[in-house]
């Protein structure tokens, strides 16, 4: 037994060493940085140990703005993108003709570069001295607008960011969900038909539980992905996100390290640890909820 254990550890050693060096060590390092006050990266010195970095970050209006943006983004895009993807997947799996074509179309955004798409979104939404942009043109037909989506009010900018995020994350979700739906044994549906089960009951009592592991996977990764959003905002609003009021938490961390006002690894570490704590909490809550509702 002992022998076997030793052997097992030996086999695990490469993986453990790799993970240790490239994942655990940096994590611990960030954790340590976040408590070192007045750290100077040039001299590698610090004054003391304490919670000052956290206090600074939590009082920084830019951080609070980023926190608010991130939470808004998560709360809006995760349910909406997952729900929409579910609707589209159910629709896709109930049609026969042109299914492959639609599937390909829905998947296209996934293989398109994020920044390029962001640029297209900006052009669609942006107002310039010469044109109000395509979206405003359409709003105009309905007698609304014009609204400046890129440099205008916060809600309009948030709308563009959410719209864009949903658009970008949906293809993957649709792909996962259509394959999850296709893998449900047809016999369950036949059994339900013979028993005269209504369509809504079939959906809620059979289909949803059957695909719940995949759905849950999408929700968890969706939450984590949205909390880590950054490049999407950059793609639309440029690199000075603080000025645009559209920064996200990861954006804040980045700015603290490398931005124009950067060079503060301690603050960045504190912000990163706060983000880590939030994601961990949300994931734990997800896991607890899933115990009751996910059927493996």
């Amino acid at each position: 037994m002992e022998q076997k254990n030793a052997k097992g550890w030996l086999y695990l050693l490469p993986a453990i060493a790799f993970l240790g060096v490239f994942m655990v060590y940096p994590l611990v390092d960030v954790f340590v940085y976040s408590f070192e006050e007045g750290y100077n990266s040039a001299s590698q010195t610090f004054f003391g140990v304490g919670l000052y970095n956290y206090s600074y970050v939590l009082h920084d209006p830019y951080f609070l703005q980023a926190l608010k943006n991130t939470f808004l983004l998560v709360i809006i895009t995760v349910p909406l993108s997952t729900g929409l993807a579910l609707l589209i997947s159910v629709g896709l799996s109930s049609i026969q003709k042109l299914k492959d074509l639609f599937q390909t179309i829905y998947f296209l955004p996934y293989v398109t570069n994020t920044l390029a798409v962001g640029l297209v979104f900006m052009i669609l939404f942006k107002r310039t001295p010469y044109t109000d942009g395509l979206v405003n043109l359409m709003l105009h037909w309905f007698g609304a607008g014009p609204i400046d989506f890129i440099d205008g009010p916060h809600w309009a900018k948030m709308f563009v960011l959410c719209f864009y995020t949903i658009w970008v994350v949906m293809p993957f979700k649709i792909l996962i969900l259509t394959s999850a739906l296709a893998s449900v044994n047809q016999d369950y549906y036949n059994a339900a038909r013979i028993d005269g089960t209504s369509r809504s009951r079939i959906f809620f009592r059979i289909t949803l539980p059957m695909i719940s592991p995949m759905l849950f996977y999408l929700i968890i990764t969706g939450f984590i992905g949205a909390f880590k959003a950054y490049s999407d905002a950059v793609a639309i609003f440029g690199t000075d996100l603080n000025a645009a009021g559209m920064n996200t938490m990861v954006g804040y961390v980045y700015d603290m390290l490398y931005g124009d006002s950067g060079g503060y690894p301690s603050y960045a570490s504190a912000a990163a640890i706060i983000l880590f704590a939030i994601v961990l909490t949300i994931t734990c809550i997800n896991l607890m909820v899933s115990r009751k509702h996910v059927h493996y």
Partner: protein
């Protein structure tokens, strides 16, 4: 409930791009299931048994033909209005629901006046559970039960609404041999107790023979023969049916009718007075062989297996279409296991003669 099928045909468009002909899964099928009987629908894989069940329960609509339950024409009725219960080969129990929830599921679908109160539903579910003897497993999930137990739950779910017709699609094929035997007795008992007209699909002839009131043999979508199991066994209409029924299977020889005698190779085995000369297939049931010192059929002996009550003799003959002949003889008969040859006389009522071309049974009197 009597079930009548009239000229039932179901064809599927060909999926093969080169062969445009449609696949005819069920071909002009007519038969009647008397009220309260258990029918064994028997045939090799791919012969259209499942399609037939799907037509009866309404999951598929026939290309042509009619289906009656009693006097009602149900051909175009959706499945939920037919009053059928279907047990799937893989049971199709909802894995996320407990046994009780699975059994309750069909009842909870009912709407309006037909919907029983909570208490009635519970009583009905418990009745069904009791009938299949799983009342102690109600809180389990399907994954926590053996195949046989899952099978029972599936039957309970199919029965809970008291269907007019119960359909079982290869219900035993996922069980091990011992459970299979036990469960088929169980299905027979449940069918007797409820008196529900039942169609039992299987590709296992022994299974069908042992529990059916009547068996329906089909091949490539075509009805071959209907009858009581023993009748079909003793009096097959063609070579296919003869070969399909019986373990060990019937022994088939190339043969000939010549001058009122039935020949296997050069051995004249039986008299066939008045029969016209022709080339034939001769089927001899394993129990149709009588070892005799001067028997007309000379075979090369390969082995003798004592099976308690009976002896199984394995031999070969150049005219036999299979490599080995299997004969079952009573333990009293003396066959020397070391001998090189064994000679048999044949029991006329265990010998069937078929046309060489059409493989239809030739009703020749044998002596």
């Amino acid at each position: 409930m009597k079930v009548v099928l009239e000229h039932l045909t179901k064809s599927f468009p060909s999926r093969n791009k080169k062969v445009k002909e449609p696949v005819i899964a069920v071909n002009d099928f007519s038969f009647e299931i008397p009220d309260g009987e258990l029918i064994g629908l028997l045939g090799p894989s791919g012969c259209g048994k499942s399609t037939m069940l799907n037509l009866i329960c309404g999951l598929q609509t026939p290309t042509s033909g009619k289906i009656y339950f009693g006097e009602d024409d149900v051909t175009n009725l959706p499945p939920e209005n037919r009053g059928v219960g279907l047990v799937f080969q893989n049971y199709a129990l909802y894995p996320h629901l407990t046994v009780l929830q699975n059994i309750l599921f069909p009842l909870q679908n009912l709407k309006g006046a037909a919907r029983p109160s909570k208490e009635e539903m519970m009583n009905k579910a418990l009745d069904a559970a009791r009938l299949v003897q799983i009342e102690r497993l109600l809180e389990r999930k399907p994954s926590e039960m053996s195949g046989g137990q899952q099978q029972r739950v599936a039957i309970a779910r199919a029965l809970v609404k008291r269907p007019r017709v119960l359909l079982l699609d290869e219900p035993l094929s996922n069980l091990d041999a011992r459970l299979r035997l036990q469960t088929r007795e169980e299905i027979r008992r449940i069918q007797r107790e409820t008196g529900i007209t039942t169609v039992f699909v299987t590709h296992d002839q022994e299974e069908a023979m042992s529990i059916s009131d009547r068996i329906v043999v089909m091949k490539a979508g075509l009805l071959q023969q209907i009858g009581k199991p023993q009748e079909v066994y003793d009096d097959p209409v063609n070579l296919f049916v003869a070969k399909f029924l019986g373990t060990p299977p019937i022994n088939v020889f190339e043969g000939e009718v010549r001058n009122g005698l039935l020949y296997i190779g050069e051995n004249s085995v039986l008299q066939a007075p008045g029969a016209p000369d022709r080339k034939v297939w001769i089927g001899v049931r394993p129990e149709g062989f009588l070892p005799e010192q001067a028997g007309p059929l000379r075979c090369t002996l390969s082995g003798v297996e004592v099976m308690g009550r009976d002896i199984s003799v394995v031999a070969s003959h150049p005219a036999c279409s299979a490599a080995a002949i299997r004969a079952i003889i009573s333990a009293e008969s003396a066959v020397d296991p070391k001998a090189e040859t064994v000679r048999f006389a044949l029991k006329p009522n265990k010998v069937h003669v078929f046309d060489r071309e059409s493989e239809e049974r030739l009703r020749i009197e044998l002596k």
